[in-house]
């Protein structure tokens, strides 16, 4: 029963909460014997190794009528690879307490590995097998497809899922960003083993790879481990380009009728690209409006003063070829229009007046101080380093970030607020919100 539940998980990507500075860790850039680059943090106090890596090319690589291909492939990588069937593969993992994670987002395939130091060779060998020789055996494909279809059937009456899906479909029609990574009941039913082999061949290549490794290893050992897992992959991938896009449907309200006691709301609009000069200012402004703390404007107005919702927040979401700001809340049906009116009024107020100097100073202090919290486990550090690499922020980003936050002026913040919230919002609501009906297209 936590006090605060981050509103419905509406963002398509769990992106890192940006982040400020202040950790004593040293990041080394290493190159493996076969020439693969990685970032390494040596951390010798706990006998484990945490690896995080990504390939360019996520679900945006899926054919529209086969949406969910990359995601289904990811679910099947540990269900049989090389000469190991799925049962043997899982037993080898568990016997050595090795954890492999695979996750597909719009732009990237993300992977993680955690192992006790004593089992690291086995761990990286198994990872190699999973990435280079997944079998996609027919029985495993049908089983995992059945599991995915079961999840998608559940989603079909889940208000969070309905509001979120409709938001993305409407914002990015006919674009891969408009499709959920898991696909739909129709598209998942069509995916073949060949589709998945094709995805793996196109994406799992050394030139598409980003690696971070944290743990009880020195640079030489880390290089050898990286080669164990990745040196055997093809040198070059074969990815399709993804077109640049901007979210559409601003000003629209779409109501999805569903007989549930609480209406789930998704709202959002145009965001800021990661390399936009206003990105950091926008990041701070968004924190002030609806970042996940107990002092955001939306939290105070929607929850604290009026008790309209348990959670309300919004966040910046950025892809390689598009960016949005996206928020969510869930509120009782008879007061949904009131809650939405407050969200709209607060975003409008932020667009017109920006934050106050006091709010800006407080948000800067928060965002700088909160950084260390995002770097307190080996796995979190490795994931953060991968994101910094994917975003091309530089190996000294962690050191520079505090100064970048401090450099944001009140004028910068006001400009960013206008850009983020001045263009109207696309709103989707799933439930029976009293007094709300879909607007005309």
């Amino acid at each position: 029963m936590t006090r605060f539940l981050a509103a419905a998980a509406l963002a398509a990507l769990a992106l890192f909460a940006g982040a400020p500075a202040a950790s004593a860790m040293t990041i080394e850039k290493i190159v493996s014997p076969s020439g693969i680059e990685a970032w390494l943090v040596q951390e010798h106090s706990v006998p484990l190794v945490a690896l995080n890596y990504a390939f360019h090319g996520g679900s945006a690589q899926d054919e529209a009528d086969r949406a969910g291909t990359a995601n289904l492939a990811a679910d099947l990588l540990d269900e049989g690879a090389g000469d190991l069937d799925g049962k043997t593969f899982h037993e080898r993992l568990e016997n050595h307490a090795i954890e492999l994670g695979f996750n597909v987002a719009r732009d990237y395939f993300h992977g993680s590995l955690r192992t006790l130091n004593e089992n690291r060779d086995e761990a990286f060998d198994l990872l190699h097998l999973a990435l280079s020789a997944p079998r996609f055996d027919a029985d495993a494909v049908e089983r995992v497809r059945g599991q995915m279809l079961s999840v998608l059937r559940r989603d079909s009456t889940n208000p969070n899922s309905l509001a979120s899906r409709r938001w993305w479909e409407t914002a990015f029609p006919d674009h891969p960003y408009g499709r959920e990574s898991r696909g739909t009941l129709d598209t998942v039913a069509r995916i073949t083993a060949d589709d998945m082999h094709d995805y793996v061949r196109r994406a799992f290549a050394r030139n598409e790879l980003t690696i971070s490794i944290v743990g009880d290893v020195d640079a030489k050992t880390a290089g050898a481990l990286i080669d164990r897992a990745f040196a055997g992959l093809p040198a070059k991938g074969d990815l399709k380009p993804v077109a640049a896009a901007s979210p559409r449907g601003m000003g629209r309200l779409i109501v999805i009728n569903l007989d549930v006691p609480q209406a789930v709301v998704a709202f959002g609009g145009q965001g800021l690209a990661r390399h936009d000069p206003d990105f950091m200012a926008g990041y701070i402004v968004n924190h002030i409006l609806g970042g996940g703390t107990f002092s955001s404007r939306l939290y105070k107005e929607v929850r604290e003063k009026r008790g309209l919702a348990y959670g309300v927040s919004d966040s910046l979401v950025w892809f390689r070829r598009a960016a949005v700001v996206l928020g969510g809340t869930a509120t009782r049906a008879d007061r949904a229009s009131e809650a939405l009116a407050i969200v709209e009024a607060e975003t409008k107020r932020m667009a017109e007046s920006g934050p106050t100097a006091e709010e800006l100073a407080a948000a800067k202090a928060f965002l700088k101080g909160a950084y260390a919290l995002s770097l307190d486990t080996s796995g979190k550090i490795a994931a953060q380093l991968t994101q910094i690499q994917l975003d091309n922020l530089g190996i000294d980003y962690i050191q520079r970030r505090g100064a970048m936050i401090d450099a944001v002026s009140i004028e910068d913040a006001k400009r960013a607020a206008r850009r983020l919230y001045g263009g109207g919002m696309l709103v989707t609501v799933a439930g029976r919100p009293k007094g709300l009906t879909s607007s005309a297209e």
Binding site: R3, E94, R143, G146, R154, S295, A309, Y310, R332
Partner: protein, 457 residues
Amino acid sequence: MPLKRIISAAAIVVLAAALATLSLAAEPTDAKIADFTLPNGLELVVIPDHRVPVVTHMIWYKVGAADETPGKSGLAHFLEHLMFKGTAKNPTGRFSQAVAAVGAHENAFTTDDYTAYYQRIPSGQLRSMMEFEADRMTGLVLTDDKVLPEREVILEEQNQRVGNNPRARLGEQIDAALFLNHPYGKPTIGWRHEMEQLSRDDAIGFYRRFYAPNDAVVIVAGDVEPNEALKFAEETYGKAARHSNIQARDRPQEPPPVAVRSLTLADPHVEQPVLQRDYLVPSFHTAKPGQSEALEVLAHILGGGSNSRLYRALVVDKRVAVSAAAWYDSSALDMAKFGVFGAPRQGVTLPQLEAETDAVLADVIGKGVSAEELERAKSRMIADAVYAQDNQVSMARWYGSALMTGSTVSDVRGWPGRIRKVTAEEVQDAARQWLDKRRSVTGYLIKDASPQAEKKS
């Protein structure tokens, strides 16, 4: 992403499910864990970890939903929300502003057995957080203008967690049928009709009854030396007066279970039926030595992941289910639950799935487990102890939840050793003794396809 391995927390107490995982965690073999008790009765546990300049500061009160007066369900959790409404010394918002000013993260949670509040902070802020937290232990001020909107918030929380979630509602019904006499049968978040009536006076009365230094444990994990934490605690929490009338938590206990119970919840939004069965079993606190550890190993072998008996049999070999799992959370002050879960493939009925599930359980009861699967389970579980050391929050939560449910620091430290000693015979005995259907409630969640269901909500 590996959806197949998620045990959808059919129970409402999402957090308790998370803690069940954590309770498999962490052997602090060489960590210098310190355990102090202040003269006013407050216990302080310090778990040093100097890798990053961050500290997790948590205060745990030995009071939860099971300590509510009948008719006041949801009160422990409501008070948890209201603890953020300010004191005479620190009016509403000041504590949260101080937390935000240093980039810290704060939250709180409630279960049947305990209520906890925490901040994750840069190391230098520990004393200041203790000062705020000590102030709120005794100085809470509540007025209706703060209390009444927050009651709307917990009702929305109930809608979000339960009202909009048929699996959570099934879990509530199973609990209510499993516990004939013990307050664990009530939802932690409360029954709506009772939540709607909770008042300021209810909350203040509950607060005065249970919030005191001699009813609390402070856990500090991270970049701090034990003696420094002790000094700060003495200067802050040390000033709070001991409560003379904190009563032992003597809740009404369960009679021996004698009836096989089953129930069905139908909801128009169910697209994936599920089977969930909960057995009434001992917790670590109520078990005889070794029993709870045997149940933990049994749960892992039966339903912990892709190699487990239930997953192999029901999902892979017989293909009657899309998911199957078992779990056991040993951290309860009174009796605990052992759960079995399955979601049928399309075309398979719940009674068919139940029969196949029973066959898997009967096999373990009748023939026991192999040496190989025992070793695999034990090494996997014990490795989690090492992984937990990488995460100060895991460590703090693990110790906190144990100390709230009758365990000691040395019980927690001894956990890996006790798991190592579990034998195949003990696992089979645990299955035979506790997986008796008369100890259980079996719940079916099905789609309500009746015409009336389409109209009403």
